[in-house]
Symmetry: C2
């Protein structure tokens, strides 16, 4: 990746904040979410509780001591003043704002706790300033990816495909030696060895009946032939991938029972991919896959949404749900992942990532998705 | 673990909520934090955005479809009504509350976003009900561990010790083949193989200069002899361990320079352990280690707090900071982890978990902490 072009991306994002509709509401803005701060500054202090204050041309990044060196090393933009906070970051923030004459200050309402908002509000009211909740500004910018981001995401998807390839090239016997949690661990090890920064979320491996729980945590259970759902992804230069495949091992009787469900899920997924393009709303896309699954009699077994945005976060905007009327735009990156889940029996989910284009979408995963029996 | 005795623990915790001071403020309480819900119900829907409503003898657990089966399987308490929410959980919550005549309803103010609070407040005001922010109720209960919890935590610590033992029994040459991220992955694999549920947080492995960043993320960098900081832990039946060791490989010149710092950190840590007992405040304990490090001239290089509580979360109450006047009580479990960090040079941290006792504390880690050179 060309470092200069990447630096330009970060700088241009800050500018976008103040040409966005938010600029009409407030002259300054407080950002609390770690990934939003990374998106704007290149400093990624995961769970660091850092704060970014944007006041026109000045930016202040408030960090704890333990993130100070990392912040200094990662931030290239000279307009960012790095402020080390030993004690209370809200007090420091209020202190900085004393020098400014704004009447109102925006803050990310979804990313600040109620208790936090009240505390900051009180500190600022002493200066005659009003704290205003504004949601989704950076999240909205992040939905449409630039070239640098797309290149990173493509790399993350390639690595995911490669690792899935390694898994299905193993023998069923070698897989059946491993518990769910051991297979999850093997997948994560392969992700690291394949030049990623490791998993983008806790790998899901669910055997047999366990696969009916879409967000299952792998246990110390060994597979005895049957269904095997794997949902995993990695990070490449801070950008995520996310893919699910459901395969079958050994037990052919179970395989045959599942084949019917598998085919329905796969057809629903391909139908959604076929219809994914700029101009379609998230809810329309969800409905296309859902209607098909309902028509086959499994509507009540597809209880989650069709997909979600992926980028710095593995789950980000836009949520591809029945309710979300967000219109898909070129260079949004989303997952398409219908599933059918039957309690005490098992579940099938097939998930790919796609980039939305003007007239269609580009599928970023190349992993086999025809019905696969490992033996 | 005796399942019946564990079930009793869950049930008794719910009762404690309503004998705590909160009961004087509100007759019902909304809990949003996943680990708090687990603590009270045994349902652990990580990042599931579930909601627990406690209204006297009735409990309602609101979950998305994708957590429904897991919730049904994990909850034994018949007083918990599991409610599946397809759309908006806040609306469903308000609907349930229609049947109750409370004037005010408590909610975890630190665990709800400002936007979320406002939305729920609006829904309830239509029923003439007031939403009141109440902080730290469950977090406070969680600080003092019961027997079931202590047994799980001890197991988690034992596994951590075992894995550290495996690492230091490797040759320096075999370690030096691995990048930071590969060694982190190796550690996590060993944690799984040692019968834990895997890492309790993303393993930190920092070589050489990188160790000066306390919350460093391991990179694809290989060690070339020198300092190696490892901070890791695992989960055992949903309870965490957390330990840090700093060791040295190969390069003896660097080792000698670090020995002085290492000895100061170790003495500070032992001093804090010696003074850790019921009745001491968190700030007093922090000050004991800090004063010693200051006396040796490294006060500015110990920029984080002395420790934190550990339980279902790897970081929980009480925070062992300069500011926290919480009094330590018997059966609290905390870390004691002083460190000295020098930018562009490196850092040393030594961390153990301890259980606070009436007249002292029990150190839960047995891993070697004398100055260790791997060759």
């Amino acid at each position: 990746m060309n470092i200069i072009s990447e630096r330009k991306c970060f700088d241009s994002r800050i500018k976008k904040i103040f040409t966005s509709p938010i600029s009409q509401k407030t002259a300054s803005f407080i950002i609390l979410k770690d990934v939003n701060i990374y998106y704007l500054t290149s400093f990624y202090g995961k769970d660091s509780e850092s704060i970014l204050l944007i006041t026109g041309d000045n930016l202040y990044l408030l960090v704890n001591f333990i993130y100070l060196e990392q912040a200094r090393k990662s931030i290239q933009n000279k307009n960012v003043n790095i402020v080390c906070c030993k004690k209370d970051k809200y007090r420091k923030l209020a202190k900085i704002l004393e020098d400014y004459s704004f009447n109102s200050i925006g803050v990310e309402g979804k990313n600040i706790s109620f208790t936090g908002f009240r505390k900051l509000e009180k500190l600022l009211s002493g200066q005659g300033k009003r704290l205003v909740s504004i949601d989704g500004v950076v999240e909205n910018l992040r939905t449409v990816k630039d070239k640098v981001e797309i290149s990173k995401i493509k790399n993350a998807c390639k690595i995911t495909d490669k690792v899935f390839g390694s898994i299905i090239n193993s023998s069923a016997a070698s897989i059946e030696k491993l518990s769910e949690i051991e297979l999850a661990c093997r997948i994560e090890e392969l992700l690291v060895k394949s030049n990623s920064e490791g998993r983008s979320f806790d790998t899901i491996v669910a055997y047999g009946k366990n696969s009916s729980m879409p967000h299952y945590s792998p246990q110390k259970i060994k597979v005895k032939g049957g269904l095997m759902l794997m949902d995993f992804g990695c990070k490449f230069e801070n950008y995520c991938s996310d893919m699910t495949r459901t395969i079958f091992t050994g037990n052919l009787k179970i395989c045959n029972e599942f084949k019917k469900i598998y085919d329905i899920v796969l057809k629903a997924q391909l139908l959604a991919i076929e219809n994914c393009r700029e101009g379609v709303t998230c809810s329309q896309l969800d409905r296309i896959a859902r209607k098909f699954i309902i028509s086959k009699g499994y509507g009540n077994n597809f209880g989650h949404s069709l997909g979600h945005g992926v980028g710095i976060e593995v789950h980000e905007e836009p949520a591809v749900t029945m309710q979300n009327r967000t219109v898909l735009r070129e260079n949004m990156v989303i997952t398409i992942e219908p599933g059918i889940y039957i309690e005490n029996f098992g579940g099938v989910r097939i998930e790919d990532m796609v980039i939305v284009g003007k007239n269609g979408c580009e599928v970023l995963n190349n992993s086999k998705k025809s019905f696969l029996i490992l033996d």
